[in-house]
Symmetry: C2
Subunit: 405 residues, 2 copies
C-alpha cells in the first residue's frame, strides 16, 4: 500500500515540523495543561481555559458578592446569558444566533425536544433511534415512550431497517451525530432527509461533534438538536448544555418543562403560562451563573479561531494517531474501531483490546490520560485546540510501552 509506505517514513521530527507550521498552534497557550501530562480525554472533559478562572472569580466575588440580586436584570444582566452564549455557539452548529439557547443538561434538553417533537406529530406513536446511540439518550427516549404510551423503535440507522422504521407512525428520528465509542460520523443530511420524507421530525445529539467536526444544523434542515459544552467546547465539569430549535418551528413548538424562565414575561410572575417567543421557551429554571461564567470564557476562544483550521487539524491528529499505531505498534490484539477516513470520524480514536482497562491504568501511570469504556474499549480524545502533533507521537510511544509492559 502506498499509504503504508508513506507512514513508515514518519519520525518525531516530522510531527514537530507539523507543529511548527500549525496555524492554530498558539491557541494552546490559552489553556492550562498540567506539566508532564498528555491529556487525551478532552472528548469527555475539555481542559481549563486560562481566562475561565478570572471570569469565575469575577462572577463570584464581584457580581454575586457586590451587586447581588441586581445582576439578574441590571448590572451583569445574568438573565441574558443563556441567549448570549447560545448566539456564540451558533457558528459551531451552523445555526442562526436566535436558534440556540444554553441551559440545563443534555439529558434534560433531550427530554424537552423529544416531547416537543412528539407534540408536533400528534397522530404518530413511534420514536425511531439507533441502539448504538449514547445510552443516556436511549434511557430518556425509552422513558418518554413509556410515559406517553409511544413505541421506541431501535434500528441500525445505516442499515436497510431505517426505511421500514420510518413509516407513517414515526413521529421523530433521534440520532447521535458522532458515535461516542467508535467516533463514526452519522450522515446528518441523509438521515434528516429520510425522516422528513416520512413526515417525521429529525432530532440530533451533537455532544460528540460540536467543536470536533463541522456541524451544519441549518444546511441539513435539522429540526431540533441538543448537545453538551464540557467536551470539545471546554466549558467545565457539568457546564450547561444547549438546545437548537430551527427558526421555522419556533412559533409552534412547545416543551413541557415550562418553568418561569420559559415565560414571555418571567418577572411578572403571572398565574398563566405564556411561552417566550423564541428559543427562550426551551429554558426552565434559574440558570447556574458560576457554571455559565466558565463557559463564557471557553466560548470566547472559539470566537477567535478559524474553524476550518481547527477541524482540519483534528482530522490530521486522528489520521496520524491511527497511522502511527500501525507503523510503530505490532500488537495483533489491538483493533482500531474508528474510521480511517477523517471525514467519517469525530475527534477521538478508539481501540478494542482484551486488556483495555489495564492499559488505560498503565497509561495513566505513564502520564497519558485517556479513557476506558465497556466493554474493552480505549478512547483517545484529540482536542485540536490544545493538542500538538508531537503529543500524538509521544502518546503512541507510551501506548507501545504499556502494551509491552
Amino acid at each position: 500500500l502506498e499509504a503504508t509506505e508513506e507512514v513508515t517514513q514518519l519520525t518525531r521530527d516530522d510531527l514537530c515540523a507539523l507543529d511548527a507550521s500549525d496555524p492554530i498552534a498558539a491557541v494552546r497557550g490559552e489553556f492550562v495543561l498540567p506539566a508532564g501530562l498528555l491529556y487525551l480525554d478532552g472528548n469527555s472533559l475539555g481542559a481549563l481555559p486560562r481566562a475561565a478562572l478570572d471570569r469565575v472569580i469575577a462572577v463570584t466575588r464581584d457580581e454575586w458578592g457586590q451587586d447581588l440580586i441586581r445582576n439578574w436584570r441590571g448590572g451583569a444582566r445574568w438573565w441574558d446569558r443563556p441567549s448570549e452564549l447560545g448566539a456564540r455557539l451558533a457558528p459551531l452548529l451552523g445555526a442562526r444566533p436566535d436558534e440556540v439557547i444554553v441551559c440545563d443538561s443534555t439529558s434534560i434538553n433531550l427530554f424537552k425536544v423529544i416531547t416537543a417533537a412528539l407534540a408536533m406529530r400528534p397522530g404518530r406513536r413511534a420514536i425511531v433511534s439507533d441502539p448504538n446511540s449514547f445510552p443516556s439518550d436511549l434511557y430518556i427516549l425509552e422513558s418518554v415512550a413509556d410515559m406517553l404510551g409511544h413505541e421506541l423503535r431501535l434500528v441500525d440507522c445505516r442499515g436497510p431497517g431505517l426505511d421500514a422504521a420510518l413509516d407513517g407512525d414515526a413521529a421523530a428520528l433521534v440520532l447521535s451525530h458522532v458515535d461516542y465509542v467508535t467516533a463514526e460520523v452519522e450522515d446528518m443530511a441523509g438521515a434528516t432527509l429520510k425522516a422528513h420524507e416520512a413526515g417525521a421530525l429529525a432530532v440530533w445529539d451533537v455532544s460528540h461533534s460540536v467543536g470536533a467536526i463541522p456541524v451544519n444544523l441549518g444546511a441539513t434542515d435539522v429540526d431540533l438538536a441538543v448537545g453538551c459544552t464540557y467536551k470539545y467546547l471546554n466549558g467545565g465539569p457539568g457546564s450547561p448544555a444547549f438546545v437548537f430549535a430551527a427558526q421555522r418551528l419556533q412559533a409552534e413548538v412547545r416543551q413541557p418543562l415550562s418553568g418561569w424562565n420559559a415565560h414571555a414575561r418571567p418577572f411578572s410572575f403571572e398565574r398563566d403560562f405564556v411561552a417566550a417567543p423564541g428559543v427562550e421557551r426551551f429554558r426552565t429554571g434559574t440558570p447556574p451563573m458560576l457554571a455559565y461564567a466558565a463557559l463564557e470564557a471557553a466560548l470566547e476562544i472559539w470566537g477567535g479561531v478559524d474553524l476550518a483550521a481547527v477541524f482540519e487539524k483534528g482530522g490530521r491528529l486522528g489520521d496520524l494517531f491511527l497511522e502511527l499505531v500501525e507503523q510503530r505498534l505490532a500488537d495483533p490484539d489491538l483493533r482500531a474501531l474508528s474510521p480511517r477516513e477523517a471525514k467519517r470520524r469525530g475527534s477521538h480514536v478508539a481501540y478494542r483490546h482484551p486488556r483495555a482497562r489495564e492499559l488505560i491504568a498503565d497509561l495513566d501511570a505513564l502520564g497519558v490520560l485517556a479513557d476506558y469504556r465497556e466493554a474493552g474499549v480505549m478512547r483517545f480524545g484529540l482536542a485540536p485546540l490544545y493538542l500538538r502533533y508531537v503529543d500524538v507521537w509521544d502518546a503512541v510511544g507510551l501506548l507501545g510501552q504499556a502494551l509491552a509492559g
Copy 2:
C-alpha cells in the same frame, strides 16, 4: 393594646442591645456584605459566603485545571457531591441523610416528583394545588396535566374547597410551604394528613422555607418535596436545587427524567436503564461542579450553627420589622401582607403600597436592596445568618424616608 404600648418604647439602642446579646451574631462575619448596603433580598439571592470564593477557585484551578477528568470517580470525587450535599441539607429539612439529593433546578425537580407521584397513583387523574402557589410551580403542574391528560384543580388550600378537591380521583396535593408573596406558612402536617386520608401523595415546595423556618418533612410524613438553595441557603445565583423522597417510597418511585446519572451503574453505559437504588434515581445529567462548589461552602456554615437560634432570630427580625413600621411610619396606604405571629410567617415581610415599585427604586438609591413583586408588593427578606437587628431599625427608617420623599 399591650403590644402597641411595648412597641412604642423601642429605640435604636434597644436593637443594638439585641445584637450584642445575639448568640449567632458572629455568623455574619462569614459573609461578604457590601459596605453601605442593607441587603434585604436574601429571600431571593442569599449573600456570598466568604469561603465560597476559595472553594470555587479550588474546584476550577486545582480540580478541573490539574486533575481534570480523574475527579469524577477519583480525586475530588465529584460524582458524590449531589448525595453529600443532600445529606448536609437533610437536617434543615427534618429528613434523613439518604432522603435528599442536590440536582438541577426547582422547576425541573418539581416536574420529576409530580410525574413520579402520578405514576404511583395510576387510577387517579387529578393534581390538587393552590392558585397562590409559586407561579413556576403552577406552570409545571399545568404542563404535566396537559401532557398526561390529567386535571389540575386549584383551590384555596386553607378553605373548605380543599376537602372536596381531595376526592377519590386526587393523585397528589402540591403546595408551597411558605407563600412567596405574603410569607404565610402553610400547615404542612395538616394538609399532608388530608392528602393521605384521601389516598393522595403530598408534595411540597420548600424553596421559601428551607433555612428560614423549621421544615419537618419526616415528622409531617411528606412524600416528596423540592426546593432551591440560592435563597436562605446562600448557594449562589442559580445554585443547584434538591429533591426529597421519603425513604419508604424510594424502592418504588420512578421519575421520567432518567438520564445516565440516575442509573444504578452510571459508568457502565449499559443499553438498558436500571434505576439507582435510593434517592440518586432523581438525578438526571452531569452536575455543574462549579455551582456545587459554592453551595458546598454555603452549607458548611449551616453545619456550624444552632438551627433553633437561627429560626428564633428570623422570627424576631420579622416581628421587629412589622412592629417598627407600625411604630414609626404613619402611612395609611402601606398595608402589611404578612402574618404578625412569627410562627405563621417565613423570613420575609411584605407590604402592599400603591407606589411600591417606585419605593423599591427609591430604597435602592438610599442603600436598601429589597424587591418588588407584581402587583404593588414590596418584599423585605430578613436572613437571620447575616442581618443584624439594628439593620431592621435602619431599613425601616429609610423606608420612612422613601415614603416621605
